[in-house]
């Protein structure tokens, strides 16, 4: 078999060296009743590369890829153009098949890359320190809530209604077991989010306020007032960014009073991949909070010859040392996705990121204006970056399905994310990126016109 280099001669030689008569002797500690008497029945036997590829290709062909249709889905995962070099670099064996850099002398490639990654995320977010990544935005968000609890020694988290409902669900699930009290809400269906409503829910028992920017409906608002209100009550502000490209156009959360900034890095370097693996980003505005951060941290140091080098550091926060007193149980993170983010961000640079953001916003404005002209359709948002909510006047879910049958991937029906809320049934989240053409926008508008009439 192509992945097994040992020959039968090798196996015989090695058994002789070991002093065992057969491989079964090496499994002597497994009770007889637990040993299977042959390969597991009813499962296929081994297959050639060609056969496996054929099987998997057939499954892949049952899916409609974003490149093959006008495509407008967002809601926490965004389709951007990833430059060709990124994929080549992440497939270099020295990156792909490397391990966590616990032996820094032979892992400076990974470590220097992580130091660059941490630095870039910190700057993007307007923060002092970022970690070396978490699984994804939703779990990073939960970890931030847990950290806020440790720092403030309070256990009541207030979540904005306009936080991605999957993120809210993850927080509520974890909080059931840590006994944190979670005060969540639903988004208001109006042009601007209800900041006063959120501020009114903060009291002196609040550990943190969690607010998404831009929010689930795509709205962009000034978080400073919320930050001020939270700090006045001794609570931390956690800002969640699900679309990092936005930060090439709008102010950094760290500059608006956020204490912890978390988010999804997938837009930069990491494709849609049907939901994972993605890239959790986690940063703190003030470095006094560093020791309470979860996740790996890479730091600069020198070697025995005085040369600059990098190592994982502040490890006493982590599970392999602190065990039950660790800041988190996280071990494996999302290293290769962090590399992809790094490479894409390097190719963009600040100038490229700003242009990319500008192009996203320009096309989103074009789309919003065109869709507003469709009879019966109105755009909800006063403000947006590259995603906005439209109201169709009819149930959005079936319309999305109908349009999909016609080869148009029209966006995410809000009902998909909030199935129990009747007031949201006619709303559709539309995301537009640099990969969206004006023809795509016209195709969506035309299809909607036909279906809605």
């Amino acid at each position: 078999m192509r992945y097994l280099p040992l020959t039968d001669n090798d196996r015989a030689d090695m058994l002789a060296t070991i002093g065992a008569a057969s491989i079964d002797d090496l499994f002597v500690d497994v009770p007889a009743e637990a040993q299977l008497d042959g390969p597991i029945r009813d499962l296929p036997m081994h297959a050639s590369e060609m056969a496996v590829e054929r099987h998997m290709r057939a499954l892949s062909k049952k899916n409609l890829a974003a490149a093959d249709a006008p495509f407008f889905l967002g809601a926490g995962a965004y389709r951007h153009h990833v430059p060709a070099s990124v994929d080549h670099i992440i497939q270099r064996g020295e990156f792909l098949t490397a391990y966590t850099p616990y032996q820094p002398e032979i892992a400076q490639g990974t470590l220097q890359m992580l130091f660059e990654f941490q630095s870039q995320v910190a700057r993007l977010y307007g923060c002092a320190v970022a970690n070396a990544s978490m699984y994804d935005g939703s779990t990073a968000c939960w970890e931030a809530v847990a950290m806020a609890g440790r720092v403030t020694r309070r256990n009541r988290a207030v979540l904005s209604g306009a936080l991605h409902p999957h993120y809210t669900q993850v927080i509520k699930t974890m909080a059931k077991f840590t006994k944190d009290e979670i005060a969540d809400a639903q988004p208001s269906i109006q042009g601007a989010p209800d900041a006063d409503g959120l501020i009114g829910r903060i009291d002196d028992q609040t550990s943190c306020v969690v607010v998404q920017y831009p929010d689930i409906l795509g709205r962009v608002s000034n978080l400073q007032a919320i930050s001020d209100a939270a700090h006045e009550k001794g609570a931390l502000v956690i800002t969640v960014v699900t679309e990092p490209v936005a930060l090439g156009a709008i102010q950094a959360p760290g500059d608006l009073g956020a204490d912890i900034v978390v988010g999804e890095g997938q837009s930069i370097g990491v494709g849609l991949q049907f939901g994972g693996p993605y890239l959790g980003l986690f940063a703190v505005r003030d470095k006094k909070h560093v020791r309470q951060m979860p996740g790996r941290l890479c730091g600069e140091t020198v070697d025995a010859e005085g040369k600059r080098g990098f190592v994982l550091t502040l490890s006493t926060r982590e599970q392999h040392i602190r065990r039950e007193k660790a800041t988190s149980n996280i071990c494996t993170n999302s290293g290769l996705c962090a590399l992809a983010f790094n490479v894409h961000m390097t190719l963009l640079g600040e100038t490229g990121l700003r242009r990319l953001a500008a192009e996203n916003h320009r096309l989103a404005c074009v789309a919003a204006d065109r869709l507003a002209k469709v009879p019966g359709v109105s755009v909800l948002n006063d403000s947006f970056f590259n995603e906005f909510t439209v109201r169709l006047g009819q149930d959005a879910r079936p319309i999305v399905r109908t349009l999909a049958d016609r080869g148009v991937l029209a966006g995410v029906a809000l009902d998909r994310l909030y199935p129990d809320v009747a007031a949201f049934a006619d709303s559709l989240l539309v995301a537009v990126t640099e990969t969206t053409s004006e023809d795509d926008i016209e195709a969506l508008a035309t299809a909607l016109e036909e279906v809605l009439s």
Binding site: I90, A249, Q319, I321, N333, N342, T346
Partner: protein, 523 residues
């Protein structure tokens, strides 16, 4: 012999006078192919970009709500050739499986097949959004379901949660299922028992889930002390977390008895599946009475380690825990169609007691395509051979080293897929760390060090099944060399490594004066 060396050529190192092979200093600090590479921030600039994007018009529409980012961000860019060069140079300072044997115990550093990478990149897998309408992503649901069915069959369990994003996340999933099951029967308990030899994620997970952790002692032959465990079980014990094979590389012979005892006391058995590579296709953990087990797809099922992730940690569940598994998951209805079961349709599928949701979207689809590709390639017969060759390779190393190194459990029988050594008999003040750094100079990534905690100066070696006999023999030769030097008290090992891109790094300085991000101020 499958790799005949007819010319008899072997690399040799002739020592120079100072033993250091230093020629004259170079002006660049480079040493031929060992290239020094500055930080991105030292070579890039905010004006440079390697992507062609249009300049925005001065009067472009602006609906950003007045939140325009006017301040500079400080993100350097490079052209495409410079970018490729920067990261290529960095890559060459890394060890990887592609380079050589990677003996990390408990990590299962097996070859990462490139077919996996090709399949993961098929547009129908790579370029689909998780929230697309079901009829446009049926093939994706089928991949998840096919992998789920394989994992259930291989483990002999009843259900599986596919969404956990890594092993530790899977551990949390399993423990939360246990907690939900106990609460559902009105029997909330406070304690989880964990062996001292367990991986640190085990007690961290249990504590995170709100449990108090107590140790289970081991007996003299390195396994869980069944009698001690039985005497500790009681109405306050929610369950145990057992790794099998355990972190000493030994099969827990009493696993079934452990499960029976825990169940009799009303608790549940969580199995850490990190070492599944030793038994896959030969033994089904479900036959040993476990209730939940996470599977590290990036270990047993060959998805790449990537320098620290991403991983994937699906969790198989017993009938007792099945009702509490998190959302979402896939299910096949009688008509053969595979559906995604989420919050809104869980009721239709009779799944009303899910403990909740662990992540946005559905799980690590990119790892599912890779793992399924691998499983289909091996098949049931190939996977059984994987376990057998993994165990054979580890025992070959164990017996080839036991005359030289302390082997705490080698007398009591074979090891499984990993061999455990200790530092007894090292001369001078030499430690496992020193031996490991000397092994780097020999051209290998060191084995797992100082884990498990139960053996002093532990060295845990897991070669995996994708090593040829020639590769094993070369590794053993290097391992024997450094072991001999350690026993002889060769003090030069304290300065190793000599030949890596960096010498030993000052971790004390890094922790005392943390510098965790680039800054323009020199300090």
């Amino acid at each position: 012999m499958n790799t005949p060396n007819q010319s008899g050529w072997k690399p040799e190192m002739t020592a120079s006078e100072d033993g250091m092979h230093n020629g004259p200093a170079t002006s660049t600090g480079n040493r031929a192919l060992m290239l020094e590479e500055p930080l991105l921030f030292e070579i890039g600039s905010v004006e440079t970009t390697g992507v062609d994007l249009p300049e925005p018009a001065a009067d472009a529409a602006n609906r950003l709500g007045g939140m325009d980012r006017a301040q500079p961000i400080g993100l350097p860019g490079l052209s495409e050739p410079e970018t490729v060069r920067h990261y290529t140079r960095l890559s060459r300072q890394n060890y990887g499986i592609d380079l050589g044997l990677f003996p990390l115990g408990s990590c299962t550093m097996k070859h990462n097949p490139r077919l996996n990478e090709k399949v993961a990149r098929m547009p129908g897998f790579a370029d689909v959004h998780p929230l697309q309408p079901a009829d446009t992503v049926r093939g994706a649901f089928e991949v998840i379901n096919e992998l789920a069915e394989w994992l259930i069959s291989l483990t002999g369990m009843d259900a599986i949660a596919m969404s956990p994003k890594a092993g530790a996340h899977g551990e949390l999933c399993g423990i939360l299922c246990i907690r939900a099951a106990l609460e559902a029967r009105g029997d909330a308990r406070e304690v989880i028992l964990v062996p001292q030899s367990a991986h640190g994620t085990n007690p961290a997970t249990a504590a995170f889930a709100g449990y108090r952790v107590e140790d289970i002692p081991a007996n003299a032959d390195g396994r869980v002390d069944l009698e001690a465990l039985k005497s500790r079980l009681g109405p306050d014990v929610a369950g145990v977390m057992i790794t099998n094979p355990n972190t000493c590389g030994l099969f827990e012979r009493d696993m079934k008895a452990i499960s029976d005892a825990v169940h009799a006391a009303g608790g549940f058995v969580y199995c850490d599946g990190a070492n599944f590579n030793a038994i896959v296709g030969r033994v089904r953990p479900g036959d040993l009475g476990i209730d939940a087990m996470h599977i590290n797809l990036h270990k047993t099922f060959s998805t790449p380690h990537g320098g620290g992730g991403p991983g994937s940690g699906p969790v198989v569940l017993s009938k007792a825990l099945m009702p509490f598994g998190p959302l979402p998951f896939t299910a096949r209805t009688k008509d053969g169609v595979v559906h995604l079961v989420e919050e809104e349709n869980a009721g239709e599928f009779g799944h009303t007691q899910a403990f909740g949701r662990m992540t946005a979207f559905h799980g690590q689809m990119g790892m599912f395509t890779r793992a399924l590709t691998y499983i289909l390639s091996h098949g049931a017969d190939g996977l059984k051979q994987v376990a057998e060759d993994a165990v054979l390779n580890a025992n070959y190393i164990l017996r080839s080293m036991e005359d030289l190194l302390h082997t705490p459990y080698a007398d009591s029988g074979p090891c499984m897929h990993e061999a455990l050594f200790g530092d007894q008999g090292f001369g001078g003040e030499l430690s496992t760390l020193d031996l490991s750094k000397a092994l780097i100079d020999e051209g290998y990534h060191p084995m797992t060090m100082y884990f498990p905690l139960v053996v002093h100066g532990a060295m845990l070696v897991e070669p995996t099944e994708t090593e040829s006999k020639a590769a094993l023999d070369q590794f053993i030769q290097a391992f024997r060399t450094v072991a001999q030097r350690a026993k002889a008290g060769d003090e030069s090992m304290k300065q190793a490594p000599f030949y890596a891109p960096r010498r030993r790094l000052d971790e004390t300085l890094a922790a005392r004066k943390p510098k965790l991000a680039w800054s323009e101020d020199a300090d």
